[in-house]
Subunit: 344 residues, 2 copies
DNA sequence: CTGAAAGCGCTAACAA
DNA sequence: TTGTTAGCGCTTTCAG
């Protein structure tokens, strides 16, 4: 069962391949009678475009590549869903890649996407510095938008949230709940999310006079396990424990609350805990997490818009990248979702 | 910045495009000296294959398409990870599609994958019957393997677990824990997972003399919300409540245990609860879930193997599909993971 | 061992 | 309105 080509349809309909192409891609004038004939022949033969051939000819694949640090992190999967949805409206497809939080794999993925002639790339870089070269190199060849995280030393469009502002809200809320000291649990400072969130945390803590013991800053990775470990360390440490534990994401916070429960530490009575991202499971912890909601749909929409704009500019303006103006940095404002892990 | 083509490399190296192709694709004999020259030229120009052109020429994309009902279900994301990993070893890429549990979207996705000339398709059909036509039609054109779920009336390869055997283990375990009656919470019986699991549940319950009140079979969808709702309904129903609640997946079970906690129903003291899939979050519930672990890596490996075999058969044996023998049905044996939501 | 040339399936000038 | 033709970038006979 060979695939049906446009030539076979043309023969069956008694017209030229050009006409078939015009009918099926809906471009160019064709008389209604011929249109019907062609369509019928195509249907009968079960014709389906060969989008590889079309892509080669048009040098456009109508596909956008997306690279995320980890597909098993619910935050990224929901971001992927939002992006896919936003692309769907433009009739574009998404080619998804998982970098496994490894800049090398990430670089390979990016190269693959370039080789596959995707029309643009959306990437949430795994590493705050090591991801730089590959991201920049890719951006030199294709429209590229960084999402959520970004990497230093690159000049590309970026869409994400204002982590500093978010942390301000978190700290103010904890302060109102009576927190006088706080701990921070995040990942190693090798990605912009943690960096920014930590910076925001530290800055606002200072403003509010909230104490941050140097031993109360624990950096590991974005996982439930790390949250549990970190909480255990805080419990075991000398000196007074913190009134609040601010986590760089919900997975960590879920681990922290779990460990607190296991050790009989009351949340939020004894210690308040906050997460970040508002993943679906954040309300399932015990107690349900107070967290920061990122406007994923908006983020995705903006990213898709920027990509489309870049693609348009690239087509018109001669040699692509260089033609565009300075890169856009769009920071959306996240909102605090208060649940039961903090004191209202 | 135009993309570098093989022709430019050829010119720079002072050889023909054929030679460049031979060097870069590693096929055909080329003298070492020329090889070096070509490679250097390619590096300097920053050449990268155009896999679209290559795919058109070879009619092979080295890409496998995968369609899952929902990318936000952690079970499927981990299955995706396993598949991607298994494919990576064969130098193949994964094109992932989310069907949003909608057979129509699913059909479109499948058609797109065919149009894109993927080398094969792995699909976990959204619906037990409505997914049929599209899956069968796709399977007539391309190597296709159904994963985890399958759809009636199709003859394609399938890899999954033996749900009946799994449920036997679950029921035996609950029985040992003293269960005399049980409820089942699943999705509407429109996919094979729920069907099989329910069948296994019912059959073993009968064998063991465990009572199943007709009102204690609740069907909704695979979500935490539905689990909560179902638990509330069970609590509100007349008559004696069940000793055990068997859930068709972990999300539902998470919802059920959450609702039990909210209503002050002791798990597993008052009622035992089981999940299915062993997603990462299953151990985070309160209490941690007893569940069924699916051997995802094995499932993924088998699927990839079947796909490769089908592709090989298709190439050799004239007209693809029809040439192959009867389809393979591989049911792996899952294992029970006992945690705290049941009585040991 | 290397080069010339055909062609994968499609679309877009250009002609008719 | 329709057909003819060239060519996207690559690989692969077939000659040399």
């Amino acid at each position: 069962m060979q695939r049906v080509t446009i030539a076979q349809v043309a023969e069956a309909a008694g017209v030229s391949t050009a006409t078939v192409s015009r009918v099926l891609s809906g471009r160019g004038p064709v008389s209604p009678g011929v249109q019907r004939k062609v369509r019928r022949a195509a249907d009968e033969l079960g014709y389906q475009v060969n989008s590889i051939a079309r892509a080669l000819r048009n040098s456009r694949t109508d596909t956008v590549g997306m690279v995320v640090p980890s597909i098993s992190n619910p935050f990224f999967t929901s971001l992927v869903e939002s992006v896919e949805h936003a692309l769907g409206r433009d009739g574009k497809e998404l080619f998804l890649c998982d970098a496994r939080s490894d800049p090398e794999i990430e670089a390979r993925r990016l190269a693959t996407l370039v080789a596959r002639n995707v029309d643009g790339i959306i990437v949430s870089p795994s590493h705050g510095t090591l991801s730089g070269p590959a991201v920049q190199e890719t951006a030199d060849r294709l429209p590229l938008v960084q999402l959520d995280r970004f990497v230093g030393g690159t000049s590309t469009d970026w869409v994400g949230v204002d982590d500093i502002a978010a942390m301000r809200q978190v700290m103010d809320h904890l302060h109102e709940g009576g927190a006088r000291s706080a701990a921070f649990v995040g990942s190693l400072l090798t990605n912009s999310s943690t960096e920014q969130r930590f910076a925001g945390f530290r800055r606002r803590a200072e403003d509010l006079g909230i104490t941050v013991d140097p031993g109360h800053v624990l950096l590991g990775d974005y996982s439930v396990d790390w949250g549990e470990t970190a909480a255990a360390r805080l419990a075991a440490a000398d000196g007074p424990p913190p009134d609040a534990i601010v986590c760089a994401d919900d997975l960590i916070a879920l681990g922290v609350t779990r460990a607190c429960r296991a050790h009989g530490v009351d949340v939020p009575g004894r210690v308040q805990v906050t997460g970040y991202d508002n993943i679906e499971f954040s309300r399932l912890g015990e107690p349900a997490l107070t967290t920061v909601d990122q406007p994923r749909d908006r983020i995705a929409e903006e990213a898709v818009r920027l990509l489309a704009a870049a693609a348009a500019a690239g087509e018109g303006g001669g040699d692509g990248r260089a033609a565009r103006g300075p890169s856009a940095h769009i920071a959306l404002v996240p909102s605090l979702v208060v649940r039961e892990s903090t004191r209202a």
